[in-house]
């Protein structure tokens, strides 16, 4: 079994950001978008309480 300690893995961390084989920009955008929707819902809830549920 191939093993690495946490120290060895940290030692192998590249300085530069390497490319990935998925659309990371899109992934981050989806997450940003969800956070905005959740924040809007929170605001709505804070403003109207239970009345419009």
């Amino acid at each position: 079994m191939v093993k690495y300690t946490a120290e060895e893995l940290l030692h192998l961390k590249p300085e530069e950001t390497l490319p990935v084989d998925f659309d990371a920009e899109e992934f981050r955008a989806i997450i940003e978008n969800i956070k905005q929707i959740q924040a809007l819902k929170e605001e709505e809830y804070a403003a109207h309480g239970f009345t419009n549920r």
Partner: protein, 189 residues
């Protein structure tokens, strides 16, 4: 030699197995079903690919509530219905979500899992899950068996070290077969 130079761009360091990162997206409208929400993001089988992914995705503190990150071996789905998980269970630990060290503890957990240092010999570990919830977040380490008490206890003890837990902090092992409202832990450490 080139092979000894671990900074070389040519040489990637292979992990013991392939791993897949999955993300559970919080539902933002009612039409979304579980299968729309849980998706594989990408896979990796070298140390270098792992770091590239970590640098390209949001850290746990930047995830919206009701998100999960899952990192599972090979093509195991992060669901108890997957045949690899059927006879297994999970060690879990709840942490206050405002706690600033979730990012660090998640990274420590990932390093222990993909480096295979959390498991002594045979690969008991199927995957690991971080669930971001309001007030509390959950770390869960999924194993392939639920009855290998000695192996599971050793893994649990190492999981506590990775999470920097003290004597007074408790983690619980719950077999997937008993998951539900009345789930009883079969082991507590």
């Amino acid at each position: 030699t080139v092979l000894n130079d671990d900074k070389s761009f040519e040489v990637k360091h292979p992990l013991n197995t392939k791993w897949t990162l999955w993300y559970t997206k919080p539902a933002v409208d009612k039409s979304e079903s579980w299968s729309d929400l849980l998706r594989p993001v990408t896979s990796f089988n070298t140390v270098e690919e792992f770091w590239a992914i970590v640098k390209n995705i949001p850290e746990p503190h930047d995830l919206p509530l009701k998100s999960d990150y899952h990192v599972f071996r090979n093509d195991i789905r992060p669901e108890w219905e997957d045949s690899a998980n059927e006879k297994g269970g999970k060690w879990s630990y709840h942490i206050r979500s405002k706690s600033s060290d979730i990012d660090e503890l998640w990274l420590r957990t990932l390093l222990a899992v993909i480096g295979e240092t959390i498991d002594e010999e045979d690969s008991q570990i199927n995957g690991v899950v971080l669930s971001i919830r309001k007030g509390t977040s959950k770390f869960a380490l999924w194993t392939k068996s639920e009855d290998q008490t000695e192996a599971l206890t050793n893994i649990g003890a190492r999981f506590k070290q990775v999470l920097k837990l003290g004597e007074e902090d408790k983690i619980e092992f719950i077999p997937h077969s008993s998951t539900g409202k009345n789930a009883q832990p079969t082991l507590t450490l």
